[in-house]
Structure formats: structure tokens, C-alpha cells
Symmetry: C2
Subunit: 190 residues, 2 copies
């Protein structure tokens, strides 16, 4: 069969979305090409007509997932919930319990730090964008102070969600989220 114009792009985007989610859920190393392609409704061989290698897919999936973060922050601002609303969502049980649709930095930062420079570079560029966007919406302070606060808050957010995900005690996990929220708001304001 021949395919519609734009069909290949659609397929590529579909693979990317499936991969991005699977990576965040199970970790990059745990996702195999055959399983990934089968989940995307294709066979393994087709992968290489879309991406040069697994590492190239990782690179694109990371950037894609960070763009998702940008979208979430923008949506929170537009909805009137503001940066605080974004932070509340970030430190919610729903985010903790759904890593596949959640923040890619919380799910994969440590693993990505062991990936090649090209991958980390692509991640870094988008990460800078996210930080700049957060800084814009910090309520008080000069532009440098805002950036500093944004970096601190981001670190707190990803670390707290990771701890909330790893501990097996639900009470402790909830406690981590609640305290993280207080700490984040404190960092945002002061």
C-alpha cells in the first residue's frame, strides 16, 4: 500500500509519544525496541526508517517531554492558577502516581546523566527554556533573583516527587508531597 501525505510524520510522532511515555514509566534501559514498536502497532524493522538509533529516539523523546512541561506551565498560567497552581499539580498524588504522563526530569534525570553528551545537550537546551519560563512567573524579585528561585524550586520539585515515588510507605509519601509544597511556596515567595 501507499500512504497519505504526512503519514510518515504521523507515524513518527506516534512512535515518539509511545516511547516518551514508556521511558518515563519504566526507565530508558528497560524499554526494548521490539516491545516499543509492537505497542505502537508496527514491527521492529520499521523503527529505523524513522530514527537513526535508540539514542536518537531518546534524544527526541526527552525534548518532546520537556516541551510537554512547557505546555503544562503555560496552561496553568492561562487558566489563572498561576505558577502556584502548576506547583500544586506537580506535587499532587496524581502526578506521583502517573510518571508516564508526568515530568521527564523527575522520571529520568539520573538516567539521562549517564547518556552521551549529545543527548544531555539536547536535554539541557530545553531545560533552560523551562527554567526561564518558570522564572518569568515568579511573583517577586529582580530577574536574577527570579532565575535563582526557579532553579531552586525545580530541584526541590523533582527530588521530592522522586522520593515520594520510591518510598513504600504511603503516609510518608504523602507527607513528602505536602512538605514539598510548603517548601516550594516558601522558596517562591521569599
Amino acid at each position: 500500500m501507499r500512504y497519505d501525505k504526512g503519514h510518515k510524520d504521523t507515524t513518527r510522532r506516534h512512535i515518539l509519544e509511545v516511547a516518551s511515555r514508556q521511558f518515563r514509566e519504566g526507565g530508558i534501559a528497560a524499554v526494548g525496541m521490539a516491545g516499543l514498536m509492537s505497542r505502537a502497532g508496527l514491527t521492529n524493522g520499521a523503527f529505523y526508517t524513522h530514527f537513526a538509533s535508540k539514542e536518537a529516539l531518546v534524544r527526541d523523546a526527552l525534548v518532546d517531554a520537556l516541551e510537554e512541561s512547557v505546555g503544562k506551565i503555560e496552561a496553568a498560567i492561562e487558566s489563572g492558577a498561576g505558577l502556584e497552581g502548576f506547583i500544586r499539580d506537580y506535587l499532587s498524588p496524581r502526578h506521583r502516581d502517573n510518571p508516564g504522563r508526568g515530568c521527564v526530569a523527575a522520571a529520568l534525570a539520573a538516567e539521562v546523566s549517564r547518556h552521551p553528551a549529545a543527548t544531555r545537550g539536547a536535554f539541557t537546551d530545553k531545560f533552560e527554556e523551562v527554567v526561564a519560563l518558570i522564572a518569568t512567573h515568579i511573583p517577586v524579585g529582580g530577574s536574577e533573583a527570579k532565575r535563582r528561585k526557579a532553579l531552586g524550586i525545580y530541584g526541590l520539585l523533582i527530588g521530592t516527587v522522586q522520593l515520594a515515588r520510591v518510598v513504600s510507605d504511603k503516609r510518608l509519601s504523602d507527607e513528602l508531597l505536602t512538605n514539598g509544597l510548603h517548601a516550594a511556596l516558601q522558596l517562591m515567595g521569599a
Copy 2:
């Protein structure tokens, strides 16, 4: 050959130390049994006279590495550097650049969250100990306030170090550490 009394225990501890370091450096999934045992100066088959499975080793290595954290905090207190001294070390370039000897939560929290409940349970128990120890040395506040601060600070520490490790821009990485330090001290005091 026969072996000295205590020889098996020494070997077990040696495997554990090598594994603990390799896990933190490369991630748990990336460490293979043959390579690990060869680094420990043994052959692959000997592993199973010491541990029931790779997962059992992971469990013990995580607990071991968290006990290392307890030791570091106690050392900082005893040296007079206090909790602030521990935090300064934690957010130092040296810690960022040596994950193998560093905080296991920063290196492996996200990966461990995908491991079996037994592994996460063992991690959680030791994690509680570390949090309690940090809380003890927060300078101001009631015991509940201290615990809350300890949880917030821990999240900030591990998240910040992970971000500092993943970004490929050295300036940004240093900036993350510096701002993380200010934020942590702010959370500790307020």
C-alpha cells in the same frame, strides 16, 4: 584451598562495596553480574554463594549506601561543621562529579521506584533513619517542624544534584549547586 574464619563475610562485604559503587555510577540495570564479580576479583558463579539473586544484592547495597549517608552526616556533626557543613559537601562539585561514592538517593531513587516492594521497603526503612538524623540537627523549630524541614531539604538536595549532573553546561551546573545551597540554608533556617 580452605579459607580463614570470617573469609566468606569479608568476601561478601567486598562484593557489596563494589556493587554499591557500580550501581551508583552506572545505574542498577547497567551493571552485569559477570562484570561485577570480575571487578571484585571473583568469577560469576561465586556470586550465588553470597546472595540469592541480583535483586537481593540491590537491596543490601541500597541499605549499605544509605548507612554511608548516616555516617557522613554524623561525621559532619562531630567535626563541628554541623548540618550546614554536610549540606555544603552535598552540593559541592566533588559530590556531583563522584556519584559512585555519593548519595544513593540522588543516584538511584528514580530507578529504585521501579523495583519490587521488598527492595523499596528496605530502602524506605533506612531512608526514615536518615531523615530522622537530619531532623535532629536542624537548629530551630519544634520536633515536627524539624522533620518537615528535613524532608524538604532532602528533596531539594537530591533533585539539585541530579540536575547538576544531567546538564551538559558546566556554568549552569555550578549555578544549580550554588542556588541549591542558598535554598537549602533558607529552608533550614526559616
